[in-house]
Amino acid sequence: MNLNWLIVLPVVSALAILPFSQLKQVRSIAAIGATLQLLLSCVLLYVFMQDPASSMSGSMAFESSYAWYKPLHIYHSVGVDGISIAMIMLTAIVVLAGVLISWNMEKMSREFFFLLMLLSAGAYGYFISTDVFTMFFFLELAVVPKFLLIGIWGSGKKEYSATKLVLMLMGASALVFIGLAGLYFNNASGNLSFNMSELAANPLSVEQQKFFFPFAFIGFGVFTALFPFHTWVPDGHSSAPTAASMFLAGISMKLGGYGILRVATTIMPEAAHYYSPYIIVLSAIAILYGSFATMMQTDLKYINAYSSVSHTGFVLFGIGMLTKTAIAGAVIQMVSHGLMTALFFAVIGMVYERTHTRMVDKMGGLLKTIPFISTVFMIAGLTSLGLPGFSGFVAEMMVFIGSWENGGTLHRVATIAATASIVVTAVYILRAIGKVIMGPVEHEAYFEFKDARWNEKTAAIILVAAILVIGITPFLINHLITPGTEAIMGKITPLSP
C-alpha cells in the first residue's frame, strides 16, 4: 500500500473545493474527502493487521522513499508502525467529525474547508514521515492554517490568540529545527542524514545528546502544552471555531507528543534518561496546575482547554517515565484525549449554538430539553475524569502503572502527586455537568431548542464509538501499538545506566 495516498487525498480534496463557492457544494466535497480519508485509514489498519510481518515486528511497514533534495540528503520517506496508525485513525476520525460539525459554516465556507483539508494533509504527512526534515515540513505546514482559522472564524480576542498561537508554535518549530540540524551534522555515521532509522542506529555522543535533546524536547513539548509554554493552549482553543478547536486539541497537540517519542527519546536515548527527572517534574506541574486552573474557569471552552493542559501532561509524564507500560499509556492517552477533547469541543459548539453562551453559571437543565446533546456532554465529561468503560480510564491507568514501574524516588513522588489530579478533575467535571445538564431549566426559551441535527449526531456517534472501543476493549489498541512501543523501548533500555 502506498502511504502517500494519505497526503494526496486531503490535498486533492482541498484543491477540489477551490472552484466552488456555494456552501452546499463545498461541504459535500469536504465530507466526501473526509470520509474517503477515514476509509483509507481503515483499509490501512486492516492491511497492517493482516500482515503479521509488519504488525508484529515493530519495524516500519509500507516503507517507500523518494529522493527529494538529494544533494542535501533529504528524502521524502514514509513508513508506519502501530503507533502511527493509531494517530492516523485519530486524525481521520477527528477530521470527519470536524467537517460534520461545521456543516452550516456560512462565513467564507470555501476557505474554511480548504484550510481544514490542508491541516489534515499536514497531520497525515507528519505521522507517516520517517525522514525528520519531511516531518518538520509537515509540522510547519499545519501552523499557518491554524492562524487563519482562528483569526478569521474565531470569537473573542481572536487576533491576539491567533498571533500568540502561531508565534509560540513557530518558535517551537525553530527549536525543533535546531535539534534536527544537530542530529543531521553530528550523527555517528559521519554522513549527513535526516533519516530516522539511520539516526537512531548512529546516535550522537552523550555530550551532544545532552546539548541537542532540550531543543528537540522543548520544541515538540510546546505543541503538547509543556509547562511553562502552555499559555497558547487556553487562548488558542477558546478563540478558535469549533472544528478548529477540535483539530487543535485533538490532533495538533498530539504532534508534539509523537515527535518527542519518535525523535527526541528514540534518537537521543541517553539524554532522555539524563533529562527524565526534569521532564517528570515539568509534566507533573502541568498536570496539577492544569487541573487546578480548570477549577477556576467558568467558560466551557476554557474548562476544556485548561483540562487539556492537564491531560496532555500525562502524555509527557508517561514518556518521561521511560518504561514500557508508561509509554504505551502515553500513546493511548494521546489517542484517547484526542477523541475525548474533540467530542467535548464539538458538544460545546452545539450547546453554544443554541444557548449563545458558554458560561457555566448561565445555563441549566439542558437534559430536559436537548437530551441527545446533554448525554454526549456527559459522556465527554466522564471520559475526561477517567471513568472505567471509557478510554480515559485505560490511558491514565496505564500511565500510572507504568510510572510505578520506575523505581526512582522522585518518580514515585511525582506519580503520587499526579494521581491527585484525578480528584480535582472529578470536581470540575461533575460541577460543570451538574450545573449545565442537571437542575432546573434556566430559561423558558430552552424548551424551544431543537436537539442535535443529523450531522451533529453522526459526528458525536463516531467519536463516542471510538471512545467506547478503546474503553471497553483496550487490548485492541494495545495490540496495535505494543510492537511499536517495544521497538522504542529496545532503543532506550539497553543504554540505561
Partner: protein, 468 residues
C-alpha cells in the same frame, strides 16, 4: 576568436542591442506608444532568456578580464527573469509616463553593468560593472520628477553609493599595492592573511556591505526604497541586491578563500546585526515600502548566515534563495504597486479588509509574505532553511539559534499584513482593482515560482550540479 566573442557575450550583446535600438528610436523621434516600446523590450528580454539557456560554453576573453561559465550564465538568467517580471509589473506606471523609453535605457544599462560584474575575473572589471549598474540606478530612483521625496531619495542614494564605491576602490587599490595584480586568481594565490591584507579586505567588505545594505551600512535603504517609484524599489531590492550577492560569494569563496577563518567572524557579526536590526525596525513600519525595505534587510542577514558556512551547499543555497527571493519579493511588490497606482495608498492600514474586495490579490500578497517568512509549502521555507542549514555546518549553534529566533520575529510582522487583509474590519475597504494583463502575467509567474521551486527540487539540483 570572433565566434567566441559573440558566443560568450551573447547576453550582454542582446542588452546592448536593446540599448542602441532605443537610442536610435529616440534620436529618430519615432512616435511610438509606450505600450509598443514595452512589448518590444519584453520580447527581446524573453529572447535573451531563451538564448541564455540554449547553448552551453565557458571561456575567457578580453585578456582574461571577462569570463563565462554555466553558473554565471544561470545567474544572469535569474537576473534577466527578474527584470522581465519587473518590466511587466511597471506597465501600469509607465503606460502614461512621458519618459518610458529613457526608463528602459537606464534599466537595461544597469542590467548590463550587473552582467559585466558577474562575468568579471578581475577587480577592475568588477568595479566598472558596479559603477555602470549603480549610477543609472540613482537616476531611476528620481524618475518621478515631480516628487520631492524621490529627489531626496536619489540624492541619498548617489551620495551613499559614491561613498561605498570609494571605500571599495580604496580596498582594491590596497590589494593591488600588496599583490601587484587585480586579477582574482593572482590575488587568491598571493594573499596570506597579513594585517594589511585584512585591512584591504575590510574596505572591500564595507563596500559590499553598503550595496547589500547589511547593518551597519543600511541607513540609506529605507529612505531610498520609500522615495523611489515602486518598480525601481523592487529592482533595487531584488535584482541589484541579487547581483551583488552573486559577486560577493564569488569574491569571498574564490578570491579570499584562504582568509576564510578571518571573515567568518566578520560575517557572523554582520549577520547577527543585520537580522536583528532589520527585523526590529520592520516591526514598527506602517508604510508598505518601508516595511518591505526593512524586511529585505533582514533577509540579507539570513543570507549572510548561509554564506558563512563556506561550502558548496552555501553557494547553492544562496543562488537558490535569490531565485526564490525574486519570486516572493516581486509578488509582494507587484500587489503593492497595483494598489498604489490604483489608489495612491501605501499604508498598511489601507489594506484592512482587502480580502473582501480583492480576494485573489490578497491571497497573492499573503503567499508572497508566507514565502518571505519561510513557511511551507512555499519555496521560501526551503530557501531559508537551506541557508540556515548551510550556516549550521560550521557548528556555531549560537548563530543558528539567533537566526531561528529571528525567523519568529519576522513572522510576526509578515502576519501583521495578513491580519490586516484577512481579519480586520473595515467599513470601506479598497475597491476592486482591475489588473491589466501584463502585471497579471508577472504575478502568475511569481506565484507559480513560489509554489513550484520549493516542492519540486529540480532547480536546487541543477544549481548544485553547476556549483560543484
Amino acid at each position: 576568436m570572433v565566434q567566441d566573442f559573440f558566443l560568450l557575450m551573447r547576453s550582454e550583446l542582446m542588452l546592448i542591442l536593446i540599448i542602441f535600438g532605443l537610442l536610435f528610436l529616440k534620436l529618430g523621434n519615432a512616435r511610438l506608444k509606450n505600450e509598443t516600446v514595452m512589448n518590444m523590450v519584453n520580447v527581446v528580454l524573453i529572447a535573451t532568456l531563451a538564448m541564455g539557456f540554449l547553448v552551453k560554453d565557458t571561456g575567457m576573453i578580453f585578456g582574461n578580464m571577462f569570463h563565462t561559465t554555466d553558473l554565471i550564465r544561470l545567474e544572469k538568467n535569474i537576473l534577466t527573469l527578474g527584470t522581465l517580471i519587473i518590466s511587466l509589473q511597471s506597465y501600469q506606471w509607465l503606460k502614461a509616463h512621458k519618459h518610458a523609453m529613457e526608463f528602459y535605457l537606464l534599466l537595461i544599462s544597469t542590467l548590463l553593468g550587473m552582467f559585466f560584474m558577474l562575468s568579471s575575473a578581475n577587480l577592475l572589471m568588477f568595479y566598472l560593472g558596479l559603477e555602470l549598474s549603480t549610477i543609472p540606478l540613482a537616476a531611476m530612483v528620481n524618475f518621478d520628477l515631480h516628487k520631492k521625496q524621490s529627489s531626496e531619495a536619489a540624492f541619498k542614494m548617489i551620495v551613499s553609493s559614491a561613498f561605498s564605491s570609494a571605500l571599495l576602490l580604496m580596498g582594491i587599490s590596497w590589494m593591488y599595492g600588496i599583490v601587484g595584480s587585480v586579477s582574482y586568481s593572482a590575488i587568491a594565490a598571493a594573499i596570506s592573511g597579513s594585517p594589511l591584507e585584512i585591512l584591504a579586505f575590510v574596505m572591500i567588505l564595507a563596500g559590499f556591505g553598503f550595496k547589500i545594505s547589511a547593518v551597519p551600512f543600511h541607513l540609506w535603504t529605507a529612505d531610498v526604497y520609500e522615495g523611489a517609484p515602486i518598480p525601481v524599489t523592487s529592482y533595487l531590492s531584488v535584482i541589484s541586491k541579487g547581483a551583488i550577492l552573486f559577486v560577493f560569494i564569488t569574491v569571498l569563496y574564490s578570491v579570499f578563500r584562504s582568509m576564510g577563518d578571518t571573515w567568518y567572524y566578520m560575517l557572523y557579526i554582520l549577520a547577527v546585526a543585520t537580522m536583528l536590526i532589520g527585523n526590529l525596525f520592520a516591526m514598527r513600519q506602517q508604510n508598505m515600502k518601508r516595511f518591505l525595505a526593512f524586511s529585505s534587510i533582514a533577509q540579507v542577514g539570513f543570507i549572510l548566515v548561509g554564506i558563512s558556512g563556506q561550502s558548496v551547499a552555501s553557494s547553492t543555497s544562496l543562488i537558490f534563495f535569490v531565485l526564490i527571493y525574486i519570486f516572493s519579493n516581486l509578488a509582494a511588490f507587484g500587489v503593492v504597486s497595483l494598489v498604489s497606482s490604483a489608489y495612491g495608498k501605501e499604508k498598511m492600514d489601507d489594506y484592512k479588509g482587502f480580502y473582501q474586495t480583492n480576494p485573489l490579490l490578497a491571497w497573492t500578497l499573503a503567499i508572497a509574505l508566507f514565502s518571505l517568512a519561510g513557511i511551507p509549502p512555499t519555496a521560501g521555507f526551503f530557501g531559508k532553511f537551506f541557508l540556515i542549514l548551510a550556516g549550521a555546518a560550521k557548528g556555531n549553534w549560537l548563530l543558528i539559534t539567533i537566526a531561528a529566533l529571528n525567523m519568529i520575529i519576522s513572522l510576526y510582522y509578515y502576519l501583521r499584513v495578513v491580519k490586516a487583509m484577512f481579519m480586520d474590519h473595515n467599513a470601506a475597504p479598497l475597491e476592486k482593482i482591475n489588473t491589466p494583463l501584463s502585471p497579471k502575467i508577472a504575478l502568475i509567474i511569481c506565484i507559480v515560482g513560489i509554489l513550484i521551486t520549493g516542492l519540486y527540487s529540480g532547480a536546487y539540483d541543477y544549481i548544485y550540479q553547476l556549483v560543484s
